[in-house]
Structures are given as structure tokens and as C-alpha cells.
């Protein structure tokens, strides 16, 4: 299982460690971007679990992040301490994710993509319209950070610690019988069923756990940006997360780390192009996918397999 090997875990730990010492040489802007990277990576790891490992095409992930972010901001405003809001956000997203999983029991592929897309839009409408609860379009300002982690550097380290915990947990999960069941589900659901995998339960779990990670990302997003409104959690963000997972390499443990890195940094690198930088970003994504449809990690594996003459290790086995 190339996607969850010890080496890929080591690489991700190395990345996190590197990120945690970087603030020494960084301006506040760099620290913010790194924090954003950590948060996006957590969300993308969640989507990678649902999509990359369990094969469920989901465009609902922005909504899960939104649910986590609003849960944290609203409870936090009522004085609930951060660990409790984090737990609440995780559980809420887990529950909602479980429910969103039900359509996946009936339909797959682009049908599932459309259902989850519709769900994301519905959540956006609720966040915007139910102003009595969510503050509506005016959003929620001045979201407090946990007192011990109020400075940019401290908050970055908190985000990185969360990323570390999530990485270890997911790494463990993927090597557990659960993880193997997820992959069996993606590869051949009928065969999985005949091997005794409870397809129904594991499909729902794939959604619920992926969603819970989205909720965690949201719980860290709200205090990071310190202001939330409904529009960042609309369809566009779901698509961005999907891009991160696919660019990095869906089904690879390291994929979300790289995908999020590129999503955060590539527009930054291209900014010298001024008015056309986003057009070039999009073209770069297309080129990347043309060269390596299985993402960056798929490409590196393919190149190595060719050079070393070894049998190509598939992303999926």
C-alpha cells in the first residue's frame, strides 16, 4: 500500500516539522499562509479519505468545513472553550457527513458529485438566510483565538499540531482493517461485499470520517481568519479542495499535503503575471493533469518505476 507507507508518513512529519521552525524566518504573511496550508491540508486529508481511498466523489467538503467553522465561532462567542468547540465541530460534521453518505449508497460517480454539490449549495443558503443563528451575510467578526495561542506563530504551531495529530490518526486508520475496507470499497464494491465487508457501513463511515476532518479544519479556520461569512464555504471551495486532492494525488497519503501546498503557493508564485495570474494557474493545473492524471505523486511513482525497472506501483494497490 504505497499510499500509507512508513516513508510517506515520515515525509509528512518532516514537512510539518519544517513548517514549525519556519516562522523564525518568516513575516506574518508567510506565517498566515502556512497556517492556511495546515488547515487546508486537514480538510484535504478528509476529502482524500472519502474520495481517494474510499472512492466516493464528494463536492460536499466545503460545507463540512463551514459547519465546523460556524460551530466553533458560534459556541466560542458564547464562551465555550476551544477544546470543547473543536469537539463539537468534529462531532457535528461527523453526524452530518454520515447523513450525506446515504445518497452514496444509491448512486456513484458524477451523480454523487451532483448530489453533494446540491448539498453544499443548500448549506450555503442556510448559513446566509438564517441570520438569527449564523449572522447571515454580515458574517461573524472578531472570532477569538484560544488564549494561549493568540499570536500568529503560536496559532500556526497549534494548527500544525492538529495536522500532526490528524496525520498520525489517518495513517493508523489506513493501516487498520477499516482502511483496507475503504480501499476494497473503492476497487470493487461487489467483491468487497462478497469478502464480508459491510459496504453500507463503510460507505457511511468514509463520508462521516472525511466530514469530521473537514469539521476539524473548519474549527481551526474560524479562529485563524477571525471572521467568517457564508461565501467562502460555497461550491468554489469544494472544487478547490477537490483540486488539491487530485493534484497532489488522490489515494496517496502525502497527496493532500502537496496539493494544498500548491493551491496555497502557486497563485502566489504566479502573482507577477498580474491580471492573468489566475488564468495561468488554471492552465498550470491542466498541464499538470495532462502530464500526470494521477497527480504529482502518481507521476513521481511512474518515473521511478520506469527508471528502476520495477513493476509500477499503482496508486490503488
Amino acid at each position: 500500500m504505497a499510499h500509507s507507507s512508513g516513508r510517506s508518513l515520515a515525509a509528512s512529519l518532516l514537512l510539518i516539522a519544517l513548517a514549525s521552525v519556519l516562522p523564525m524566518v518568516l513575516q506574518p504573511y508567510g506565517i498566515y499562509l502556512l497556517s492556511l496550508w495546515a488547515v487546508y491540508t486537514i480538510a484535504a486529508i478528509g476529502l482524500n479519505l472519502t474520495l481517494g481511498f474510499a472512492g466516493q466523489m464528494s463536492l460536499a467538503h466545503a460545507a463540512f468545513v463551514g459547519i465546523g467553522a460556524y460551530c466553533t465561532a458560534l459556541l466560542g462567542a458564547h464562551g465555550v472553550p476551544f477544546p470543547a468547540t473543536l469537539l463539537a465541530a468534529t462531532l457535528l460534521a461527523y453526524g452530518v457527513g454520515w447523513c450525506v453518505g446515504y445518497p452514496a449508497l444509491r448512486v456513484q460517480g458524477h451523480y454523487l458529485a451532483f448530489v453533494t454539490l446540491a448539498f453544499t449549495t443548500l448549506v450555503f443558503l442556510v448559513l446566509r438566510n438564517e441570520a438569527w443563528l449564523t449572522g447571515g451575510i454580515a458574517g461573524i467578526s472578531n472570532i477569538a483565538r484560544p488564549r494561549l495561542f493568540a499570536t500568529p506563530t503560536a496559532y500556526l504551531r497549534l494548527c500544525l499540531a492538529a495536522l500532526l495529530a490528524v496525520s498520525l490518526a489517518v495513517w493508523w486508520l489506513l493501516r487498520s482493517p477499516w482502511g483496507r475496507a475503504f480501499i476494497a470499497l473503492r476497487e470493487n464494491p461487489i467483491r468487497a461485499m462478497s469478502l464480508g465487508v459491510d459496504v453500507r457501513r463503510y460507505t457511511l463511515l468514509a463520508f462521516a470520517i472525511g466530514a469530521a476532518l473537514g469539521g476539524i479544519a473548519g474549527a481551526f479556520y474560524a479562529p485563524l481568519v477571525q471572521y467568517i461569512e457564508p461565501s467562502p464555504f460555497a461550491l468554489g471551495f469544494s472544487i478547490n479542495l477537490l483540486m488539491m486532492v487530485v493534484i497532489g494525488g488522490a489515494g496517496y497519503f502525502l497527496g493532500p499535503f502537496l496539493g494544498a501546498l500548491i493551491a496555497v503557493l502557486l497563485p502566489e508564485w504566479l502573482r507577477f503575471l498580474h491580471d492573468v495570474y489566475l488564468a495561468f494557474y488554471a492552465l498550470a493545473v491542466i498541464l499538470l493533469l495532462l502530464v500526470c492524471p494521477t497527480g504529482l505523486l502518481g507521476l513521481s511513482e511512474r518515473l521511478l518505476a520506469q527508471r528502476g525497472g520495477r513493476p509500477a506501483e499503482r496508486a490503488d494497490a
Binding site: S8, L15, V25, I137, R180, E301, A317
Partner: protein, 395 residues
């Protein structure tokens, strides 16, 4: 394709590659800090919507800011210091806006111009406040200047100042008692609608239909029908320009005869361009208009059209004014003093007689709101005409 749980790895070079990427990350993030400007120029950070749904708004603002800077630099800058503008694109997204304002602040700008969408402003405000850098925003939402920052300045009316003027026109001039309110359900539309409904209530008028629509909505048949069924004396419309055009077309088709009243966007050049003859007869309040019967404004419009081949809208006028507000306050201080820029601006009145670039007499109120004349505008024969000049609130 079996799910065998062997530990054969992503190879060492993949690990190395990740580390390599990490190093690249470090280098690229460290770079912005080295971009400190030449010390004698005045750095203005233009943090504005250049992509996403706010792109059409932010682009005109940016163009006007550039024009103001070029014009000032041609005259030797501010107190001999040239102006340098750096653009930052918020992508009309608060989290990107926060990233961009941080990037801008890391370079220690003299002042921040923008953003215009209130969500992006609200996320930036605590940061400019903490850094003590004056921020000039085009946002109209009420709460922007109620957040306790002494560094936020509007270049436009808040909805709290403009909508009572619209309400007075509806109730006082048109004698309308029953009013239908059509609004786009986003940041600007919501705050405009709330302020107007509030102001109408105070004047004793009734809102007989309260119809939100979606940005990008294609058909306005249902909206017009709802307004028509409520049998209003007048219909107030606050939509974006494209939706204005679609609404007006539909209203004409359904034979709506009652006055159509708007605020700024309903009568602006873009709406008229898109709606054509259907825009004739609409009337409304405009905090800024390129048709203002003021020589300085007319002159600005000519220069802007010559340079960019489009009619400047209120956003362009605001961006232009923001640069001149910085100039006026700096000259009042006698030297570019970023720390005292905000304090100098509070309570300051800038008059085009001495500072033609400000275009219109502008008073900065203590909370960062501003006071200016504004206009009642009517579209006649495909042209917006000012039918009445409304005085400054402070007389």
C-alpha cells in the same frame, strides 16, 4: 488492485522531493519581507477585488487609483515624494483578503486602499487597526465603522446615511405610502435593504413586498409579479447592473407604471448601457455620479474616459478620491507621517477649491464615515441627469 497491506514505500526521492518543496516554500514565503520599498516614496497598498464576483467593482477602483497616482506623480508626488502603488487581489474572498492585507502590512505601507466588499473589509479592519495604518474602504455596510477601529475611512456613504435620503424621496417627493423593495441577497443588497426598510418605517411608509433575488439570476418574472401584485406606489430596486438590466426589461414587459427608484447602481452608466431604452425613467439617489454638475467631476470623467475608454462609476470615483484624501492629509501634516495620518483625517474637511483632486467637498467624520453632497438622478433618453443636489448632512 488488491488491498494488500504491504509496506513498500513511496521512495526516498519522494521524501526528498517533499523536503525540497518545503525549502522552496520557506524561500518563497521569506521573500515578501525583503521587498521593502525605497524610502523616499509613499507606498500605497491597493488591496482590492480583482477577481471573483467583485472583479468588475475592484477593477475600476484600481484603475482610478492608478490614474490618481500617475497624475500626482506627474506633479511631483506628495510633498516631493513619489507615490508607489502595489496591487493585491483579494479574489473577493475574506480569507484571501486577510492574507493579502497581511502581505501588504508586512511591507509597511503608508496607507491601505480598499477593499470594497464588506466581508473583506471586516476581516482586514482589526489588522490595519493593530498596525496603525489608515484603510480607505468603498464598503457601504453599516457595521464597518462600528467596529471600534480608529483607522478605517469610508470613501462612500454608509447605507445609514444614504438610505434615509432615498426614503425621504420616496415618501416626501413621490408621496408613496406603499413600497415594494427588490434587492439582491448579498452583502451590499442586504445592508441597503435593511437600512431602507428601517428608514421607511420611521417615515410611516409600509413595505408591501420584500423580494430578495440571487446574484446572477436570469429570470425576474417572479420578482416583478410579486411587486406588481402588492400594488405599491413605488418600487425600490437594489441589484447589480446585469440584474438591473434584466429586471428593467421584465418590468417594461409587464407594463409596470409606478416609479422605479434605486440607489446608485440602478441609474449608473453600466445599467444604462445594458438596459438601453428600458432604463429611461428610472430615478434614484446616487452618492457619487459621473454626471454630477461639478466641473472637477466632469473633468475627471473626461480624463478617465480618455485613458480607459469606459465611463467611471462610483467605485472609480471613490478610488480616485481615496488617493487625494491621503494627499490632502499628508500635506496638512507637512510630512508623510503614517502614524498620524488617521488622526489628521478625522474631522478634516477637504475642499476642491484648494484640492481639486477631491472632486467634491468632503468631511471626514470622527468615526471614519464621511459627509458629502449627494444627488437625485433620473435617466432620460439614455442619459443619467442630476435632477436635484442633496445637501451635506452637516449643512
Amino acid at each position: 488492485m488488491t488491498a494488500k497491506a504491504s509496506g513498500q514505500g513511496v521512495h526516498r526521492s519522494a521524501v526528498l522531493r517533499c523536503v525540497g518543496l518545503g525549502v522552496a516554500l520557506a524561500v518563497s514565503l521569506a521573500l515578501p519581507g525583503t521587498g521593502r520599498a525605497a524610502s523616499d516614496s509613499i507606498q500605497l497598498a491597493d488591496v482590492v477585488e480583482l477577481s471573483g464576483s467583485g472583479a468588475s467593482v475592484g477593477t475600476l477602483w484600481r484603475d482610478a487609483v492608478r490614474m490618481a497616482a500617475d497624475e500626482l506623480n506627474a506633479k511631483g508626488g506628495i510633498l516631493g515624494h513619489p507615490i508607489a502603488i502595489t496591487d493585491y487581489d483579494t479574489q473577493t474572498n475574506p480569507s484571501t483578503s486577510r492574507a493579502m492585507i497581511q502581505k501588504a502590512l508586512d511591507a509597511h505601507p503608508y496607507a491601505v486602499l480598499g477593499p470594497i466588499y464588506s466581508g473583506s473589509v471586516k476581516v482586514d479592519e482589526p489588522l490595519t487597526q493593530a498596525a496603525g495604518v489608515a484603510e480607505f474602504t468603498g464598503a457601504a455596510a453599516k457595521d464597518i465603522t462600528h467596529m471600534g477601529s480608529a483607522y478605517i475611512f469610508r470613501t462612500a456613504f454608509s447605507t445609514e446615511s444614504s438610505e434615509p435620503r432615498v426614503a425621504r424621496y420616496l415618501v416626501g417627493d413621490l408621496h408613496a405610502k406603499k413600497i415594494a423593495v427588490l434587492w439582491v441577497n448579498d452583502d451590499a443588497g442586504r445592508s441597503t435593504r435593511d437600512a431602507l426598510v428601517d428608514a421607511l418605517g420611521k417615515l410611516g411608509a409600509t413595505v408591501v413586498a420584500d423580494v430578495p433575488s440571487e446574484a446572477g439570476q436570469v429570470s425576474f418574472a417572479a420578482d416583478v409579479l410579486k411587486a406588481r401584485r402588492a400594488q405599491p406606489d413605488a418600487i425600490f430596486v437594489y441589484l447589480h447592473e446585469e440584474e438591473n438590466a434584466r429586471f428593467l426589461k421584465e418590468a417594461r414587459r409587464e407594463g409596470i407604471k409606478v416609479p422605479l427608484v434605486g440607489d446608485t447602481t440602478l441609474m449608473d452608466a453600466q445599467t444604462i448601457k445594458l438596459a438601453g431604452a428600458d432604463a429611461n425613467g428610472v430615478v434614484g439617489h446616487a452618492m457619487l455620479t459621473p454626471n454630477a454638475p461639478i466641473p472637477e467631476v466632469q473633468d475627471f470623467v473626461k480624463r478617465f474616459e480618455a485613458r480607459y475608454h469606459v465611463v467611471p462609476d462610483h467605485n472609480a470615483i471613490q478610488g480616485y478620491m481615496a488617493v487625494w484624501m491621503v494627499k490632502a492629509a499628508t500635506e496638512k501634516m507637512g510630512k508623510p507621517d503614517a502614524q498620524h495620518l488617521a488622526a489628521t483625517l478625522h474631522g478634516m474637511t477637504i475642499d476642491p477649491a484648494t484640492e481639486p483632486g477631491i472632486l467634491m467637498k468632503t468631511t471626514v467624520l470622527p468615526n471614519g464615515d464621511m459627509d458629502r453632497q449627494s444627488f437625485m438622478v433620473e435617466v432620460q433618453d439614455g442619459r443619467a441627469r442630476v435632477i436635484k443636489v442633496l445637501p451635506m448632512l452637516g449643512g
